[in-house]
């Protein structure tokens, strides 16, 4: 047996190390190390509650808006504010734009370049994939950067800039909606739909979202423009490399739900999914364990209202700055796949018929979410009411608390804030990759990625590092700067 330390990983947000025990070329056990600590939760103590809207987006340059929305929701609850319909629509549009852009960045720039590695050079599909997806030099990089940059004009219009906008407020948005804004947004979305239909899917978005079984998806993407599309090519590789059998995580999936409409309904529902069963979600069942973190011991796992983050690089059992969040003591996988399972979509139940996630299911969920969310944005943009209020205002009690739960691109993101004498006295954040890349807990349960890496094996010709590890790690689209914050 040999312990292999792998890192730094790139094409993830932030720094990441993975340690694996290899036995006969197969991963027997794995440890995930988050090597960077910055201390946002502690810098917020003593600040004015509104200042969280400046600091928390800067936790992460790729999930910046998600952090803003979670912070604003926590303050909204603390203030008891009602948001005008335009404010909710505007927040949905801004958050969806970030999530879609992140999925696109992940697929084209972070995930696909791994299939251009030398280990695949003799595969029949290699030359085609290499010329399209090679890092930096591949044709796809320019295509996607152009389409993405134009699509991000949505955020120039609705949030001033991206990342690190201050437009998202507890009562809605600071950006008023004028008719020309609405017209521009409609035009930008049309152009982006064109990129998705021509290049990513080779199909209409309506056709993509109607595919409800693996056989229907495979049939649709087996010929013509759909087969030649970027997603079609991924499906082809995925089948040949059997990515559906790679990277099985925990059997519990969790989503906070996303994009509220004016009736309070969620576009992606909230809840949990486990072995075909749905349950509603109660955030009071969430607790963070620090037994294997470089965090001062606290006796037991604590709910984030009561949690603390005191760094201690000398904790004997510690091996990561990341804490281990658990839902009723269980590790949970979060992300686009969890959202689709909690939404009871048959294709995704079939893709995970072992009851666990896998590399292919995670990628398919993300790309389908792009199609679903762009169609939703097209509807929301038309529901905007120019010249109508976008922001509600109110005062905040000196003693109050609140939490904000939102789905970032990578999954469930929560902020819990306590305010006393008008100042923040505790602020705890649990980010999606904190769930997915958590270390072990006090009972020894590994985190989702630690589970998912077990069984990854060397390909023929690989010396000591299975490329499968790269695929599994990136299938979660990790954001390490959010993970520890």
């Amino acid at each position: 047996m040999s312990r292999k330390i792998i890192g730094p990983f790139n094409r993830v947000e932030g720094d990441l190390e993975v340690q694996v025990d290899l036995v006969d070329g197969r991963v027997e056990d794995a440890w995930v190390v988050s090597p960077l600590y910055r201390g946002f939760e502690r810098m917020l103590i003593g600040k004015s509650p509104q200042d969280s809207l400046v600091y928390t987006p800067r936790i992460c340059g790729i999930c910046s808006v998600s952090q803003s929305v979670a912070a604003a929701k926590a303050l909204q609850m603390a203030q008891g504010l009602e948001m005008p319909e335009n404010g909710q629509l505007s927040q949905n549009l801004v958050l969806a734009a970030e999530n879609i852009a992140d999925h696109l960045t992940h697929f084209y720039l972070f995930f696909m370049p791994d299939f251009c590695r030398k280990t695949y050079a003799n595969e029949p599909w290699f030359e085609r994939i290499f010329s399209r997806f090679q890092a930096i030099r591949g044709k796809a990089a320019k295509d996607v950067l152009e389409a993405r940059a134009e699509f991000m004009h949505c955020l120039g219009l609705l949030a001033g800039k991206w990342p690190h906008s201050l437009a998202i407020q507890p009562g809605g948005s600071t950006k008023m909606i004028e008719r020309p804004d609405q017209m521009r947004l409609i035009a930008i979305l049309q152009s982006f739909r064109g990129f998705l239909e021509d290049t990513l899917f080779g199909s209409s978005l309506e056709d993509v979202v109607s595919l409800s079984s693996i056989s229907a998806m495979k049939a649709h993407f087996s010929g013509g423009a759909a087969a030649a599309s970027d997603f079609g090519q991924f499906l082809e590789i995925s089948e040949k490399l059997d990515l559906i059998s790679l990277g099985a995580g925990p059997d519990l999936f969790m989503s906070y739900g996303n994009y509220t409409d004016h009736n309070g309904n969620l576009f992606y529902p909230s809840g949990t999914y486990q072995n075909g069963k749905f349950s509603s979600l109660d955030q009071s069942g969430i607790a963070e364990d620090v037994s294997h973190s470089w965090v001062a011991a606290q006796g037991q796992a604590l709910h984030p209202y009561d949690g603390a983050t005191v760094p201690d690089a000398d904790q004997a059992q510690g091996y990561s700055w990341c804490k281990a969040p658990r839902l009723k003591s269980a590790p949970a996988e979060v992300g686009a796949l969890a959202r689709h399972l909690v939404a009871d979509l048959p294709l995704f139940k079939e893709l995970t018929n072992s009851g666990r996630g896998n590399v292919e299911a995670r990628i398919v969920a993300r790309l389908f979410e792009i199609a679903e969310s762009v169609m939703a944005m097209e509807a929301w943009v038309r529901e905007l009411k120019p010249k109508q209020p976008v922001c509600a205002h109110g005062s905040m009690d000196k003693e109050t608390e609140g939490y904000g739960l939102v789905e970032a691109a990578r999954g469930a993101l929560g902020h819990w804030v306590k305010v006393s004498k008008g100042r923040i006295i505790n602020y705890q954040i649990i980010a999606p990759t904190t769930w997915n890349f958590s270390p072990r807990d006090a009972s020894g349960q590994p985190g989702p990625l630690e589970m998912a890496l077990i069984g990854a094996s060397l390909r023929e010709g690989e010396a000591d590092q299975p490329v499968a590890i790269q695929h599994i790690v990136r299938s979660f689209d990790p954001c390490m700067v959010c993970t520890v914050h």
Binding site: E13, D51, I59, K142, G156
Partner: protein, 352 residues
């Protein structure tokens, strides 16, 4: 086809001299300057780098090499087997706890990131701090700065930081501080391109070694709320249309950047998004000493006055312009949509 002689003979200076190499590292930051850079357009980032004649040795969001392959690139630079023109750092250098650097050990290497940065900086022709974290410490240095976050050549407003205030790259230039939180994609690309063309001198840097190409301007320039500013017609809540200097904490009249003339993500800027400038290109912007979105005042007068404006004149002009505020601006300043449009004069034929 026969090309005309002058086209055949055309020189491409940046290519003729060979490509410049760039290594981009991240430490105590959010990655937002890289993500902002991916928003470069007209042309896209990859084309922009090609135009600059820059060959990316490694960038965390873009490159294929990972783990040992990446560490090999670093070791080749340190062994002088690989020439390095640009070392870009995004995120602050993290010295804690107690100067050990253990808050950021570079994955897979067991070595503090701050040591990697210091060693590589010795090899680089140019060292570039991308974003306010790498330049001054930035957001990561907020609060009690328990992680001991500093910039490359500054610790907040003071010379110092990881490399020290006297550090010079092999080219002889100090660390170039492309400050901002985040940076505009073209602040970064234009500066790198300019430096790659070898004509870049100290003259092009301001008092904090930021590129004057964008810090010779104020955020106030081109602010869409300028008429409200002129008449001190002020916003009172975050959705109001008026000037945000008096009550909402806006520092656009002091902040050195061209955000309202070089727009973001198409047509945006903080002011255009309806929220105040927080002066994110300045050292210590992360600890303003007041709630970001509330203007601190002394005897009713904002403490932070417009750059280069004598206080007595500001007070005199402000009271004069307040007295002269047109009704239209007074009404619109505290409204969320224009209540009273400019009246103008209708042409005679419309009136008849």
């Amino acid at each position: 086809m026969n090309m005309p002689f002058h086209l055949n003979d055309a020189k491409r200076p940046s290519r003729a001299k060979g490509k410049k190499t760039l290594l981009w590292l991240q430490s105590g930051g959010c990655g937002g300057c890289s993500l902002s850079l991916l928003c470069a357009e007209g042309p896209d980032l990859i084309t922009g780098l090609e135009a600059a004649g820059i060959d990316v040795l490694w960038h965390p969001s873009l490159s294929e090499e990972t783990g040992e392959e990446f560490v090999e690139i670093l070791n080749r630079i340190l062994a002088d087997e690989q020439h390095l023109d640009f070392l870009c750092l995004e995120g602050s250098a993290i010295l804690g706890p107690n100067g050990s650097g253990r808050f950021h050990m570079m994955a897979g290497t067991g070595k503090p990131m701050m040591e990697w940065i210091s060693e590589l900086a010795e090899k680089a022709q140019h060292v570039v701090a991308v974003g306010s974290c790498a330049a001054f410490g930035g957001i990561t240095a907020a609060g009690d700065n328990e992680v001991e976050a500093v910039g490359l050549s500054y610790d907040g407003r003071d010379k110092g930081g990881l490399l020290g205030g006297e550090f010079r790259g092999r080219s002889g230039l100090p660390v170039v501080n492309i400050a901002g939180c985040p940076t505009h994609p073209n602040w970064v690309l234009d500066t790198l391109m300019d430096m790659a063309m070898d004509g870049f001198t100290l003259e092009q840097l301001d008092q904090l070694e930021r590129p004057r190409s964008y810090t010779d301007h104020l955020v106030h320039h081109g602010c869409p709320r300028n008429e409200f500013y002129e008449f001190k017609a002020s916003a009172e809540e975050s959705s109001d249309l008026g000037c945000m200097m008096e009550h909402m904490g806006c520092k656009g009249t002091q902040a050195q950047a061209d955000c309202n003339t070089r727009l973001w993500n198409g047509s945006g800027s903080c002011l255009r998004g309806g929220y105040p400038c927080i002066n994110c290109t300045a050292p210590k912007f992360e600890e303003p000493g007041h709630t970001f979105t509330q203007t601190p005042k002394l005897a009713g007068i904002p403490i932070g006055l417009p750059t280069d404006m004598p206080k007595a004149w500001f007070v005199a002009l402000a009271s004069l312009s307040k007295a002269a505020t047109p009704d239209r601006l007074r009404a619109n300043a505290t409204a969320d949509y224009i209540k009273v449009p400019p009246s103008g004069k209708r042409k005679a034929e419309h009136e008849s």
